[in-house]
């Protein structure tokens, strides 16, 4: 009787629970109309003479123009970095280097709100996320690595760690500022200088950071920022005077980079794609698990390399988990990233929107069953409602390939062995999640996952002290923690 009654009542949170808009103000934001390249401590006009628009993906309005660096521009940046390395940065004691990095951390904290708002404007992510996660974590990352600068001998006993030289760094558009912090902070702490190319759709926080470096008094040329598309990145990769490449992005581009540096002695760190399994065991705390699944795939519009994009539910709890999941999805607010009520913001670019739509189409064509909650999407801008697919197989395209959007593929399993083999059956190995109230089961599963970051009863957690990076085709090297220093050092034991 009670069961029947429960079935009749359907939650309709979206129609009854409209929140009044709660908009973050943009009045205090200072953006120039046009941004030049940051080379040798100054903003300089690009030799290419070319600028491109950077837009707000939630409104399609142009925010600013950004310079596109060509080969000559990149060469100037590498020369500036080399000069700074030879004349200043490599001569500085670790203690003094550290103090500059502490300054950077403090200045980011002071200007956190400005960076947060620009991050949301330029990239489409919700203000709640950029305010509470991206920018604070970026500052924390600089703060953490600042302290390592004069303690490297303790991190690598009997190894005599030394800086490498000039690091070329290419960062993605999903966490623009945070990924820049992940790259620059350890590079500077270990005594290297940097040429950085931020992603073309999200260059603004990088350029604001360049202004901040000037304010911090960071010596000229220690960090150089060259904006542009993939072509600009390839000039960095192929420059003979770059000693190390650090890249975060797709596995496809990562492999291209590895091929271009195969006949050189350039060191590399690759943070590439993922297709993580998120596993719900029948003895899991289901409400928390559902919340973890939501956070695992819809956090940052699913533009997360470690997103829990493959959900595995133990058969005995499949029905109840699906009901809870759909109810929870119905309550998600999709819309203006600057509204503090928003859970899912705008898709980062038209190109990515097309990619996600392509995969949704493939999912349907391959016979998967789609579910999307009722939600009204803004007329302008790039949007995808939270989406899940059931009736998929290990061989489905949407189960095999990284979509990088708010799209979840759901499978079931019966035994622990079955889910371990299904979860590991992928060329990727970046992350995984496991939900169970039984400690021995959690540890069994976390230790069996072939992945670099494993969350037990939680998901998508990040911290400067916690190493991040993948197994297999998800890349090599770690960012974060003591282990994150290694990629920027050479050893003369």
């Amino acid at each position: 009787m009670a069961k029947k009654k429960a079935k009749e009542i359907e939650l309709d949170l979206s129609s009854n629970w409209d929140y009044a808009p709660s908009m973050e103000s943009t009045g205090h934001i200072q953006l120039k109309k046009k941004y030049d390249l940051f080379i040798g401590g100054k903003f300089v006009k690009p030799k290419s003479g070319v600028y491109f628009d950077t837009i707000n993906p939630a409104t399609e309005e142009v925010l600013a123009q950004v310079a596109e660096a060509n080969e000559a521009d990149v060469d100037a940046a590498v020369k500036a970095a080399r000069k700074a390395y030879d004349t200043v940065w490599s001569k500085l004691s670790g203690k003094e280097r550290g103090k500059y990095i502490y300054r950077i951390a403090r200045l980011i904290q002071e200007r956190a709100r400005e960076f947060s708002v620009i991050e949301s404007l330029d990239g489409g992510k919700t203000i709640r996320e950029s305010r509470d996660i991206d920018i604070p974590l970026a500052a924390a990352h600089f703060f953490y690595y600042a302290g390592w600068a004069d303690k490297l001998d303790y991190a690598f006993p009997n190894r005599n760690p030394q800086s490498i030289g000039v690091a070329g760094q290419i960062t993605p558009w999903n966490f623009p500022m945070l990924m820049i912090a992940w790259k620059i902070a350890p590079a500077l702490a270990t005594g290297n200088t940097v040429v950085l190319k931020p992603a073309e759709t999200t260059s603004l926080t990088a350029l604001k950071l360049a202004e901040l470096f000037q304010d911090a008094g960071l010596p000229d040329g220690v960090v150089n920022i060259v904006t542009g598309y993939g072509q600009t990145g390839s000039h960095i990769v192929n420059h003979p005077d770059v000693d190390k490449i650090a890249f975060t992005g797709s596995t496809g581009v990562g492999k291209l980079i590895m091929k271009s540096i195969a006949n050189t002695n350039k060191k590399s760190t690759m943070e590439l794609g993922g297709k993580a399994a998120n596993i719900i065991m029948e003895d899991a705390p289901l409400d928390q698990a559902v919340e973890g699944v939501i956070n695992g795939i819809f956090f940052n519009q699913g533009h997360v390399c470690c997103a829990g994009s493959r959900l595995f539910i133990q058969e005995s709890v499949y029905d109840i988990v699906m009901r809870k999941l759909k109810d929870r999805m119905q309550a998600l607010v999709v819309g203006n990233p600057l509204d503090k009520n928003t859970d899912i913001g705008a898709i980062n670019s038209k190109k990515q929107l097309d990619t996600i739509k392509k995969y949704i189409k493939i999912g349907k064509e391959e016979g998967a069953e789609i579910y999307q909650p009722n939600c009204t999407l803004p007329k302008k801008g790039y949007w995808i409602p939270p989406t899940l697919f059931t009736n998929v197989a290990q061989s489905s395209t949407i189960v095999k390939e990284e979509i990088f959007g708010p799209v979840l593929a759901i499978q079931t399993f019966r035994t622990v062995d079955e889910v371990i083999s299904k979860a590991n059956n992928t060329p990727y190995g970046l992350s995984a999640g496991v939900w169970s109230d039984k400690g021995s089961k959690v540890f069994n599963l976390t230790s069996q996952m072939r992945a670099g970051v494993v969350w037990g009863n939680t998901y998508n957690k990040f911290d400067p002290t916690s190493p991040f990076g993948g197994y297999k085709e998800s890349g090599h090297g770690r960012e974060g923690g003591l282990q994150g220093l290694e990629a920027y050092l050479k050893f003369n034991a």
Binding site: R159, K255, M258, A262, P285, Q288, K461, S466, P467, K472
Partner: protein, 293 residues
Amino acid sequence: MKRIEILKTYKIYIGGAFPRTESGRYYQPLANKKPLGNICLSSRKDVRNAVVAARGAQTGWAEKSAYNRSQILYRIAEILEGRRSQFQSELELQGITKVTAEKEIDASIDRLIYYAGWCDKYTQVFGSINPVASSHFNFSTYEPTGVVGIIASEESSLLGLISMIAPVIAGGNTCVVLASESKPLCAVTFSEVLATSDVPGGVVNILTGNTKELLEHFASHMDVNAVVYCRNNKDEINQLRLLAVDNLKRITIKDNVNWDDEKVENPYEILNFMEVKTTWHPIESISAAGSGY
């Protein structure tokens, strides 16, 4: 009448067994202008068979307790010590002096003992508990990369070989080894040591043959996770790096190494073939630390 001597047939070592090469071919490396023996010219198929054996053995090997792996490495050293005279004569046959050969054998045994001792210690020294700002227990530890290809030293046919096999298997990896092409005798005899040392079949697989023919198959095999190259040929290094990209193999280059130098013994050689895994779990209540699960 003088007794007719029994000559040794040198075979390869795959999955704990001693097959002849699938190719049915052989070569004769020379020392002092005399052939050392008829040595198997392993084929691509042998490499593939060896990788299957190594993959099959990997999980079981990694799941053994560190204490057990440590004892097995120690056991290899014990058996090697007991068969020193055979290695002595092979090393001399391959062209080095009696004294140098003795030293190489001593160092090889000691190197095994050194890495035997690390098996149950490197996670303590290099693992970490990370003080994250949220209410989570967070730790990083090392797990084996998986199946490792070893292109062993050309010159140092015993010590160079053992200097790479020992750290690779100490960390729970399994391996497929390409022995020194010009001095393959010790590698084949070492596989007989392995076969009698409690090392499960498939953990170490040793092939002999032509580097030019086989390197690309090590480099391009999609089920090999890492390759360490212990020679000096620039073209081969470039070829290896390029072909390794397709499944992002971890590549380690050990060119111009002096294997006699004790400095080559260090735990970082183990870590080169490991992956860092970081695990998070909430403290106090599940999904602790506020609203963000």
